[in-house]
């Protein structure tokens, strides 16, 4: 019995220890002489003096190119530009999408991974301001009746596929409203296999990715169009992370001085010349 009591007591103690909050590094900076809360020295980053940025792996072009040590590609360069403006070196880490919104402290400052800002998601995490306005694109194989479709209403009777967790899936269900249940895959690659095998008639993902797939990955494929959905990609922060203000400041700067637009023109323009679906 005494042993049992000791065990219980130690468990309670353990729980007590766990309760102690791990204080986030104070964001106020020392002594108040430094007025800029976004100065490199006073930034509340996870690793002091470094901006730790997460994305999933594999990371797909044209969003990401090159090695994880120094990503380029649109999102890679946007994140690097933010780091530059915060005067911090950047370090990339891997975070699966499904884990990016789990509760608890993160080992990265923000996650950038073509994540669309929605109201529902915003309740669980904090989003930066949008850094890219995304449209949905529809990819199918040449020579199928679907390939000549011009409007959303012509798409109803086909079998669609999408990657799990994407807003494309919600777009299919709420806007196209197909008669057959959408097939949902773990990765875009699996959806591409299904398209090649004829298991789905078309796949929907962001328009940039569809054009990339058409040009590089899928023979005889065609992007029948894009659908303007006025959704924005945002960076994901742990809820309440004060760093978000500084990142938003940097993004604001990049928008007003045209850097963001230049990056988009330089890295994504070729992917956006696609007719619009009615």
């Amino acid at each position: 019995m005494r042993k049992l009591l000791v065990v219980i007591a130690s468990l309670v103690l353990l729980a007590g220890c766990a309760e102690e909050p791990s204080n986030p590094p104070s964001s106020s900076g020392g002594g108040g002489e430094n007025k800029d809360p976004c100065a490199a020295k006073s930034l509340p980053t996870v690793a002091k003096g470094t901006l730790t940025v997460a994305t999933d792996r594999p990371a797909y072009p044209p969003w990401f190119k090159g090695s994880p040590k120094a990503y380029s590609g649109y999102e890679g360069e946007v994140a690097s530009e933010v780091a530059k403006r915060l005067k911090l070196p950047i370090k990339w880490v891997v975070e699966p999408f499904a884990k990016s919104y789990s509760p608890g402290p993160k080992d990265w400052d923000f996650d950038i991974n073509q994540i669309t800002i929605t109201e529902e998601r915003d309740r669980a995490v904090d989003f930066s301001d949008g850094y890219y306005e995304n449209n949905q694109g529809v990819l199918t194989l040449q020579g199928t009746p679907l390939a000549s479709a011009k409007s959303i209403s012509e798409l109803k009777d086909y079998q669609f596929g999408a990657q799990v967790g994407t807003t494309s899936l919600a777009f299919i269900n709420s806007t196209i409203q197909p008669s057959a249940e959408v097939k949902v895959f773990d990765t875009t690659n699996d959806a591409v296999s299904a398209l090649n095998n004829g298991q789905i008639d078309a796949l929907v993902t962001d328009v940039v990715t569809t054009v990339y797939l058409r040009d590089i990955e899928v023979d005889n494929s065609v992007v029948i169009g894009q659908y303007p959905k006025t959704e924005q990609f945002g960076m994901v922060f742990e809820e309440g992370n004060p760093l978000i203000e500084c990142v938003n400041g940097a993004l604001e700067e990049m928008k007003s001085d045209g850097t963001l637009e230049d990056l988009e023109r330089k890295l994504l323009q070729q992917y956006l010349e696609v007719p619009t679906l009615e």
Binding site: L11, V12, A18, E19, T166, L169, N197
Partner: protein, 272 residues
């Protein structure tokens, strides 16, 4: 089972045990956050019944049940065939025995998810008329049947081996053919002995139907995943887990009862 004092002690220790665990969880620094992300009634309810853009988890679970029931029938048959073939004596039948051994070795060794990928994405790619034009659910069930039959064949074989050779000898001396001895003497005893491990495998099968989602069909785990990604809330996974549990627990209790009954019967036999 314990007597009055025993009951008192067992209840007290149960209460203390769970109270300590509950306390430890409740005092954890992130407990309110976890409660909100996993157990928010709003999200539990919405994921259970679905929204405009997300499928209902319970609706999708019907597919799991269907796949389980269909696969189970085929597994029971295929596995029995494999187990019997493996036991056929005589040099002439060597190639058949070799196939049976090779089959169980192969499909017990390869992870189910890889078999799913190979069948689900491989067969349709071949461009054959019949084999390449099935639904993903069919491919998924085929993969489940192939993998689980390898396990269940071994369970059957253990049962067959456990029946003493004298049984076959006695049956043969009564004029039954080798097949008749197997069919009427060995198998009835063998199958009864392996029912608990068989049911155990079926509990595993029931859960593994979730893996079929990699091929595209929306079953319960995938429906939960869709909801989680759209709402950034894991409540849907809790709902899916709950659905699986309420199906497997009765199966587990039923297995326990069969084991008990079997033990009683054997003890009674020994007393004769």
């Amino acid at each position: 089972m314990f007597g009055g004092r025993g009951i008192l002690i067992s209840s007290a220790s149960t209460i203390v045990f769970f109270a300590v665990i509950a306390l430890a969880v409740a005092l954890a620094p992130g407990s309110s956050l976890v409660a909100e992300r996993f157990f928010d009634p709003y999200h539990l309810n919405r994921s259970l019944f679905g929204t405009v853009t997300t499928p209902s988890v319970v609706g999708a679970f019907v597919l799991n049940i269907k796949m389980f029931l269909i696969a189970e029938v085929f597994i029971l048959i295929l596995a029995l065939v494999v187990a019997i073939v493996r036991g056929i004596p005589g040099p002439v039948f060597f190639p058949f025995r070799a196939i049976a051994v090779g089959y169980t070795d192969l499909f017990r060794g390869v992870p189910l998810i890889l078999v799913l990928y190979m069948i689900g994405f491989g067969l349709p790619g071949l461009g054959l008329k019949f084999f390449s034009s099935q639904s993903e659910v069919t491919y998924g069930v085929v993969a489940l049947v192939l993998v689980y039959s390898a396990y269940v064949a071994e369970v059957y074989r253990a049962g067959i081996d456990s029946v003493h050779e004298s049984q076959t000898a006695a049956a043969r001396s009564l004029g039954l053919s080798r097949w008749q001895a197997m069919r009427f003497v060995v198998l009835p005893q063998a199958v009864r002995r392996v029912i608990p491990p068989l049911l155990n495998d079926f509990i595993g099968l029931q859960k593994d139907t979730a893996l079929i989602s990699v091929l595209g069909p929306i079953e319960a785990a995938r429906a939960a995943n869709i909801y989680a990604a759209e709402q950034f809330n894991y409540g849907s996974f809790v709902i899916a887990a709950f659905l699986f549990i309420i199906v497997t627990i009765p199966l587990a209790r039923f297995t326990d009862r069969l084991i008990e009954r079997d033990q009683r019967r054997r003890r009674a036999g020994a007393a004769l």
